[in-house]
Each structure stands twice: as C-alpha cells, then as structure tokens.
C-alpha cells in the first residue's frame, strides 16, 4: 500500500529557531491520522509545509508519491485544506465561494454546479447559499469551508482544529461528516487540541513537542505505554488513611479524591486482589472499585512535560 503522506527528516528553521526539527513519519492511504501538540510545538508549521504553503528548510515530503518541493501543483490538486479559522470570502455568498473554489481547481461548470448543490444540501447550507458569508454563524462558516475543501474530491483532507469554538451540535455534525468522508477512503490528517476528539476519531496519533516527535502510535497503545498512570479508584465504607494502602504490593502512589482513593499502579489486575484481601483483613466493605487506564490527555501531558523538562 502506498503512503498518502511520507515525511522524511523534515526541518524548518525561522532564523536560529528550529520550528520543526528533523521529523519523520508516514500516513497510510485511507488512514485517520492525528497530529497533536501544545501551542508552539510546530503543528501549524508542519501542516503548512505538507500543504505546500511554505517551503521546508530541509527534508522531503511526498503527497501520494508527489514530492511537494518539486511537484507542488500536482500534490495540491490531491488535497483539501480546512484551516482553523474560516477563510471563505466574507463579501461573497456561499454559492459564489463554492464556484470560486471549484474554478480554482479547474472543475467543469456542470460538474461544479451539481457537486456544489449536493455538498451544500448535505451540510445543511443550501437554503442560505445566496447569502453573504459574513452573515453566517461560526458553525455555518466552518461547514462551508469543509464543503469548499471537498469540491475537488481530495484524496487527503487536512483539518486544522476543525471543531474549535463550535457549539455541540455543529461539532457533532462535523465529526460525523469527517468520519463518513474517511469511510469513503479519504485520508484524514487532523490537528486538534481536543484529546477526546483525537482519541475517538484517530487510528494513529503523532505527538509533537518543541518541533520534535514525542510519540507515534494508536491512541490505545499510547495509553498503555504510560503504565505508571494506570490506577484504581476505591471507596470503603470507613474513611481510611492513605498511608495504610501504601504497603500493598505494586502501589506507586495514592491520592485522596473526595471520599475515594486513587491508587496508581503498573499492575492494576493484581492490585485488585490485594485490595479485596486488605478490605477483608480490616473488616471493610468495598463500596466502589474501578480500574482506570490513563486518558490520552494524561499521556499528552506526560509526554509534553517530559519534553519540556
């Protein structure tokens, strides 16, 4: 299977600062790929290089086997770009924006009309197509730029924080549409700050920090790599001093969380048995017992803190 995106030893310098520092990764065709990182980590710079907006200082990027440095136009024809901030023309109507975008990609008029109508209906914008975009709500503007990005039937869709600042129903609708687009075979490259969104939607994730890759893996595997963040939440019928459970085998740390205790361990399965024995020996009743795997947010924080440390 060919890679939709192949990044090799990519570096981008602004003066003496390495905004992107020798990163390499691949995105498979049809994959839903997440690109995460804190502010200033190099996400936007990377996405701008991948979409041919700026040039890299060194390294190579291939988009469906087209070298973006040498065959920029061919590569751009295969992609759709959805930036964080809606960049449709506010003084033009939704329909004229669609026409403009389609003509930029060389679509024939008949095809452009049919596809624009289909997309605007699908994204619930057709009834407002003749209104200037400046009168659209934020969610409508975001839906419009997704429609515009889909006009050339892209093989790869780049999304930069597509649901940032949107209300719940717009967020839900957009996520659903993106999933459907991916089911249709389009490769998705998503940058987001929303860990829940990345965890739910992405097959693989890159975490970038200070221009370097901190981790690449599936969301579940990333969670498992941070073993010491696994924990058990337990509540007894009597208040217990947290020191009393420290002596149990496998306990790394204990936190009081309201009337419960959160016990960090690398062996949650074994520790459950020790906790049951502990309760029996101390004549305690267990009211709650849950094992918690770390969230992607925990992993993200840990990896980015380690990078800063």
């Amino acid at each position: 299977m060919i890679n939709a995106i192949k990044v090799e030893q990519l570096t981008k310098k602004f003066g003496n600062i390495n905004a992107v520092d020798n990163i390499s990764f691949e995105v498979k065709k049809g994959e839903f790929f997440g690109f995460l990182g804190p502010n200033g980590a190099g996400k936007t710079t990377t996405i701008r290089i991948l979409t041919g907006i700026i040039n890299a200082t060194s390294g190579k990027v291939s988009i469906m086997n087209h070298d973006i440095g040498r065959h920029k136009l061919e590569a751009k024809k295969l992609m759709g770009v959805i930036p964080e901030v809606s960049n449709a023309y506010m003084d033009l109507s939704g329909w004229i924006n669609m026409m403009f975008q389609g003509e930029l990609y060389g679509l024939h008029r008949k095809e452009l009309y049919a596809l624009s109508k289909e997309l605007l209906i699908d994204f619930d914008l057709y009834s407002r197509k003749d209104q200037k975009v400046k009168f659209y709500s934020k969610g409508m503007k975001q839906r419009l730029i997704i429609c515009m990005a889909l006009l050339n039937r892209p093989e790869i869709l780049f999304l930069d924080e597509p649901t940032s600042g949107l209300d719940v129903s717009s967020t839900f609708m957009i996520r659903e549409k993106i999933r459907n687009i991916n089911s249709g075979g389009t490769t998705i490259f998503l940058t987001t700050h929303n860990m829940e969104e990345a965890s739910q939607m992405c097959e693989r994730i890159v975490i970038i920090n200070k221009g370097r890759i901190a981790a690449v893996n599936s969301p579940e595997n990333l969670k498992l790599t941070v073993k010491k963040l696994q924990s058990i939440i337990v509540a007894f019928d009597r208040d217990m001093d947290k020191k009393s459970v420290y002596s149990l085998p496998g306990v790394k740390d204990v936190e009081k969380v309201g009337d419960k205790m959160r016990i960090f361990t690398e062996i949650p399965g074994e520790l459950v048995f020790h906790l049951v024995d502990f309760a029996r020996e101390n004549d305690l009743k267990i009211l709650t017992l849950n094992t918690l795997t770390p969230s992607l947010e925990d992993v993200f924080l840990k990896l980015t803190k380690e990078g800063n440390g």
Binding site: R48, G52, I53, A88, Y89, D91, F100, E103, L104, G106
Partner: protein, 246 residues
C-alpha cells in the same frame, strides 16, 4: 499548463472584481482623489479642455489602475483568504497576474469617463490606433506597479496605501501632466524619464493633437520595459514575502 494557469488568473480576477471594485479605499484613492487632484491643479490656469484632457486621462488611468491591487494582498492577509489561495493548485505568479488583471480592467473602465468628457467638449482622439494599445499597455504597467507597492508583508491596507501615495504623487508632478515635457526645465525632464507615466501622457498627447515629446515607438518601448520590470519584481518579491504574510 500555461493555459490552465491563465484560466486560474481569470478566476482570481473575477473574484477581485466582485470584492474590491466597490471597496471604499478603492473609490476614494482610485476615483475621488484623482478628481480633486486634477481640479486643484487644473482649474484657474486658463487652460482649454483640449490642454487639460491628456492630463485628465493620464491621471485617471494611473490612479485607478494602481488603486485596487495594492489593497488586495494586505486585505487577503488579514482575512486569511491568502492562505486559501496559496494552498490551491495555482502559482504565486498566477495570483499576482489575476490581481493585476482586475486592476487593469478597472483602470480601463474608469479611463473611458474622461474620454467621454473630451468627446462631449468636442475633442476627439484622432489616433485611436495608438491610444487604445497605449491605454492597454499603460494600464498593465501601472497595475504591475501597484502590485509591486503591495509586496511589503503587511496586513494593514492603510500601510500599503501610504507607500502607494508616497510613490504615486511625485510621479504625477514629474510626468508632464500639468506642464508639457517641453516646458519643464532640463533637470526636471531628467527625473521625468524614470516615470512610466511620462510615456503614457506623451502617447495621449500624440493621440489627441500630435504634440508629443518622444517618438511614439520610444513611449511604447519604455512602457513595455517598465511593465516587464514591475511585473517580474512584483512576482519575485511576493514569492519571497507571501510565506511571511501567512
């Protein structure tokens, strides 16, 4: 490839016409400003319409064709639409050409007004075969100059307008618009050679009453060379500065 990019330039041009033709700064700096400038220097000097018309036409074309294009780049930087254009499969030179085309058309359309004023006043343009290609070439030249003025990576149209005004005004005074070139002192004439407006004004004077200073061929050649230099410089500088704008 070339034809494809030319079509894309037309797409950009149509978008510019829809958005920028009626923006307030365009109307102020492209139409009202040159009218008042012309009135300020033309009225009360005991000159006939025939004497004033070449200057009127030259100012109209110069100001209008150089009015839109300096605004587009900062405007689109601010509204983030420049990023959309740059991520599309078009060359930066195509985007610049599209912007210049919109300005070129605007200049030509507005230039028709003083021509009509002349006709109503009984002054006809005798050498249309010189006048029309002259207007086309000069409009492209002034629009390219406008594009060149918008290359500093600013997202504030007022900054570009300031640069544009600083460049445009001196050119008006050294280009034989208010005083025919032959009547300007020698030192002033030397300055006038570096202004593309000089050669267009001279072409217009030839077209109306054959009172030209340079041979017509020199006027065309100078405008062609200025156009080429302005366009190439504008493309090169935009190519360098657009990544800084985004």
């Amino acid at each position: 490839m070339f034809l494809e990019q030319l079509k894309r330039a037309w797409v950009v041009c149509k978008k510019d016409i829809r958005i920028y033709f009626f923006k307030a700064p365009v109307l102020i700096f492209g139409i009202l400003f040159p009218i008042f400038l012309f009135l300020a220097f033309g009225i009360g000097r005991d000159l006939s319409v025939g004497d004033l018309l070449p200057g009127m036409i030259a100012i109209a074309l110069f100001f209008t064709s150089a009015a839109i294009v300096p605004l587009i780049a900062p405007w689109e930087t601010r509204t983030k639409t420049l990023e959309r254009l740059v991520s599309s499969p078009i060359l930066i030179s195509t985007i610049i050409l599209g912007d210049i085309l919109a300005s070129f058309l605007f200049g030509i359309i507005i230039t028709v007004i003083p021509v009509i004023v002349g006709i109503i006043s009984g002054i006809s343009i005798k050498s249309l075969y010189i006048f029309i290609p002259g207007v086309l070439l000069a409009s492209f030249c002034f629009s390219s100059l406008g594009s060149l003025m918008s290359t500093p990576p600013s997202d504030t149209p007022a900054n570009t307008n300031m640069i544009s005004t600083v460049i445009k005004f001196p050119l008006v005074f050294i280009s034989g618009i208010f005083i025919p070139l032959g009547d300007i002192p020698v030192w002033g004439r030397v300055f006038s050679y570096i202004s593309p407006l000089t050669y267009f004004t001279d072409l217009v004077r030839f077209s109306i009453d054959k009172k030209n200073y340079f041979p017509v061929g020199i006027d065309f050649l100078a405008l062609f060379i200025f156009s080429l230099i302005f366009y190439i410089l504008a493309v090169k500088l935009h190519q360098r500065n657009i990544p800084r704008r985004i």
